[in-house]
């Protein structure tokens, strides 16, 4: 009898341990990851300019789109020797972000893949122009 009793307490204690961890683990999903969408209201997508891993500029994507390039006349001017004067256009179509390469020399990459036709990008995707990374948020 005492052996059985001790075995039951032993198992109950282990069950308690896992119940505790389960409670913690349930809420970890919302804590891990960058979860960028949580901070802004509405559905408007934003382009975030990253230098290294740091955010340097943030632009709300508009319907008519922005031309990104090295030229001072580009809507989003980037100081990047690897970018063309007018490198790519980033616009909206049916609430989706569309990336359109404008015949650049070094190419435009969405998530590391070179794109030549207009390509849609969703939140969390990266657009590389020259050596500059833009993240869609």
């Amino acid at each position: 009898m005492p052996v059985l009793f001790l075995n039951i307490i032993k198992l109950l204690f282990i069950v308690l341990l896992f119940l505790f961890l389960w409670q913690v683990a349930r809420s970890i999903r919302s804590h891990v990851g960058t979860n960028p969408g949580a901070r802004q209201e509405g559905t408007g997508a934003e382009l975030v300019l990253l230098t290294g891993s740091e955010e340097t500029r943030r632009v709300r994507v508009r319907h008519q789109g922005h031309v990104v390039g090295r030229s001072p006349d580009a809507d989003i001017h980037i100081d990047d020797p690897y970018a063309s004067e007018f490198h790519a256009r980033v616009g909206l179509q049916d609430e989706r972000v569309i990336v359109h390469d404008l015949g650049s020399t070094n190419g435009t990459y969405v998530n590391g893949r070179r794109v030549t036709n207009p390509t849609s990008a969703s939140r969390g995707d990266t657009v590389q122009i020259g050596k500059t990374i833009l993240e869609v948020r």
Partner: protein
Amino acid sequence: MSRTTEAALLVAAALLAAVGVAITEFTRGNWLDAQVAITFIVFLVSFGGFYAAVRIWAPGASSLLLPTAAFLAAIGFVEIYRIDGDLAAIQRWSLIVAGAVGAGTLWLLRRSGVAILNRYRYVLLAIGVALLLLPLLPETWPIQGATVNGSRLWVRIEVPVLDRVLSFQPGEIAKVLITIFLASYLAERADAMATVDRRIGPLKVPEPRNLGPILVAAAIAFLILIYQRDLGASLLLFALFVTMLYMATARSFYVVTGAVLAIGGGVAAYLSFGHVARRIEAWIDPFAVYEDAGYQTVQGLFAMGSGSLTGSGIGLGRPDLIPAAATDFIFAAVAEELGLAGSIAVLAAYALFVAAGFGIALRSKDRFRKYLAGGLTAVIALQALIILAGVLRLFPITGLTLPFMSYGGSSLVANAIIVALLLRVSHEERT
């Protein structure tokens, strides 16, 4: 998770500790002992104080870290209590002090935030290095170095008022200060260090002058190994440095170089130092030196093996047969009495803590905070990995404490500071 759930989980962790103590006393033939209530109150005071500080000075902080740390501390405390009641009595005071230090850290940073650490990085580095060197003081001074188990890591201070000798391991605090320095240094230099213009085979190689810091780190790690004979601290500092370098530059070159330096240093240490050679021989074939250097490892293996799936039950195993069961080998004691199931719970708790820590690093707003949170999380992760691998004989025994669980005040206090800094970084992400 809301702050209320967090509070409930902290109470639950205190209950776990109390229930564990009650079971231990029950197996000794005592029904509810006063120790059960004392343990419950100590956990409530320690973590409750820390929790209150979070609510006041870092209300935006993640609510995952404290419950996980409390969970690990509770399981660790139950095993310590079960192995040696006197150690448990000291550990209770350490828990209260650690809770107060954690709360105090949040109070200190309440206005300036972690940014102030960035500003005074060289001061912090100097204090860190001084703390590392402190145990080398002669044994006749009022503040004296001391050799314990062949490693010179301890400092003793005689307190005339209390007529007591306080002893602590300054290296524990030093590792936190060095992490802060590295985060600040790398936030400034990482770009230069990540610049690569050459290749050797598949490996991108940075400029030779960027190798300076990694060589300095290897030299410091080697000096600790020689003068303090501490394999654990030496390995931990070097691994931390390589991890943070990789975190900041994303260049596998540094990891490869670090591994080469570590293996080279390991072989050199094996050939030239008796204490390292003994550890490695005890790792390769502990049964051959069972009577001597391999005794601890073998006892640990027997303990874990006898634990089987659900263990012997708290209070019913013989973890007291393992040398250093309450400190370095506490995981073997847990595996013996709570079995594979309990060990997995412990590992899962570390995984949750590390995931939460890296989550904070990913969401933090600038590089210093990213590397700080990532580095502090890496300290806990690496320390747990190194000592767990040692206990499981995947790696030679190095003599580190298992974070939050092992008996030891310095370690608890240092880990409380780490938790407080992580909470503060996570609070600042929203501001």
